[in-house]
Assembly symmetry: C2
Homo-oligomer: 357 residues x 2
Amino acid sequence: MKYHKKMEKTDNPKVYFRDKRVLITGGLGMMGSSLAIDLIRWGAKVTLLDALIEQYGANFYNIEKIKNSPNLQVIIADIRDKLAIEDSVKHKDIIFNLAGQVSHNDSLENPLLDLDINYRGHVTVLEACLKNNRSAKIFYAGSRLQYGNTQRIPVDENHPRNPLTPYATNKNAAEDYSNYCHKRFGLKTVVFRIANPYGPRCQIKHNKYGIVNFFIKQALEGNEIRIFGDGRQIRDYLYIDDLTKAFLFAAIPNQTNGEVYNVGSGVGISFAEMASKIVSIVGKGKLKHVKWPAEYINVETGDYISDIGKIQKHTGWNPSFSLEEGIRRTVEYYRSPQTRNRYLLPSQIFSPKSKFD
Amino acid sequence: MKYHKKMEKTDNPKVYFRDKRVLITGGLGMMGSSLAIDLIRWGAKVTLLDALIEQYGANFYNIEKIKNSPNLQVIIADIRDKLAIEDSVKHKDIIFNLAGQVSHNDSLENPLLDLDINYRGHVTVLEACLKNNRSAKIFYAGSRLQYGNTQRIPVDENHPRNPLTPYATNKNAAEDYSNYCHKRFGLKTVVFRIANPYGPRCQIKHNKYGIVNFFIKQALEGNEIRIFGDGRQIRDYLYIDDLTKAFLFAAIPNQTNGEVYNVGSGVGISFAEMASKIVSIVGKGKLKHVKWPAEYINVETGDYISDIGKIQKHTGWNPSFSLEEGIRRTVEYYRSPQTRNRYLLPSQIFSPKSKFD
């Protein structure tokens, strides 16, 4: 809490981020756009870079609120594009490297694509920083899936990493590469191993990732919500505003340079309970238990809860949204069919009302 | 030693490998060619696949002894070449996937090349096996460098892996991918984390890897042998015949499927002592202590000794060459300038006397 005190004086985010030049890869996704909204509010100059790959989370509607800000720039480019990235990282103070192939299960179908985006793409960003910008703070969005089967809960950062899928393997490799760039060249890298995030601005077209959001959509439409097995597997669900705050808090102190942090709510809730809460809050939808599909059971990690002691200690960050409150706010966001449709139609990523078309 | 007993009856390598179809990637390097010589002796049908990349270890002189065997086939192809690999893995009983970018230090200069060969290349081999051959036993040659800084010695397989370079990061990723293929699809993968191997058939053109061999060459030519720092760093040097034997022993039992093993001598010797032994056995050469160059000290792991208990228990394998004996045999191999020259001139990889030109 020492840091908290200090922050109230000089490192208040509202002061700290003013005029900071920030690059966010995957900037039109849930995480990137939520960060952008806060950063713009605090006076940062924000460049969003996104490849608009279908099935992933890019959506121009995500930046509806800030699209007219003079401090916002959007670049359509892919982190696999070396030249575009070498140019984009120049003169930035902070880089949130959040772009990714986001489906654990899709990595089983197309492992080389996952490798090229989720590992080689991040190496490309880091190498571009080595070439053109060694002073930026560089965040990498890893995943709790990097641990694979959990041997104990809560899981702290020293828990062995035995990834079960190409997705998790590539996330680990990208993390290791970040650490190497820190140790050898002094790059100010920070890696987050993120629990299950959810909230406004997540895609809800399919259930390949963002399951809380998908269930909310199902409930809002009065559909069936399918729970695999008995639904007793424990998960750690993290509301997007808490995650955004963690990124911002960790961006400020030097102590976070070169570190890896678990970021989650720190609270374990069973899958079935999460689904029940959604049905109860929405007031619609119906739970149905089904057998584990083979492609899921093989990559099931067992129960997971983040031990978030390290990031709390280093940054003063604390999650503040209960799952109920997070679901309520998310339901609120998608409640009107007009908003919801923006996240259902693939073509909506090219919003006709956007200045970026 | 239960397995040892069993082996003497039915699993004697001389019987086991007869008519086995074996693919060795990196087949013209030190490890691949040494394995090939043993396998041909035991009646296996051996396909060597090699990309002949300069600076690496491919050398046609390595297979001088067996080049006329009707059981030997050589394919010039790269593990990054999906179609060539998909074809090559067909109908094989055992695949020794040893191809690689072999210099730890070169991975710092050209990290994307290292990624493409040492990780993406191996994913290509494993995916080819998933497509065309799910029954082969598939070895991957990892490295003791996967551990990074050692927290304790001897190092067992549960020691944390915190790689210090792209090379080590990519080796870890390839290992994780092997394990994933085993767990999810039942591929019979085996990973070796190999200590510092040396012996006949290693390149001696430069000191980027195979330092024992390079020192032997320096001593044979009466040159200076440069030791970084005080030379007290402990290493585990593994003679090639012991390594070859480990591959063969581990190929036979089912118990090794899906496992990761340290493979080393299990004996720690200081760098300076290794160099002294070379000078003393060769009877020429001169030791010189120099300062650690920056590009080495940054990736120095600290002392390393393999804990080899697991592979000993699972396979009955034991290393049998002392460092003195190994050096003696290696010196013997390179002693004549005629042989030595075969390993010095890059063009010698295309031996004019070979049938493969």
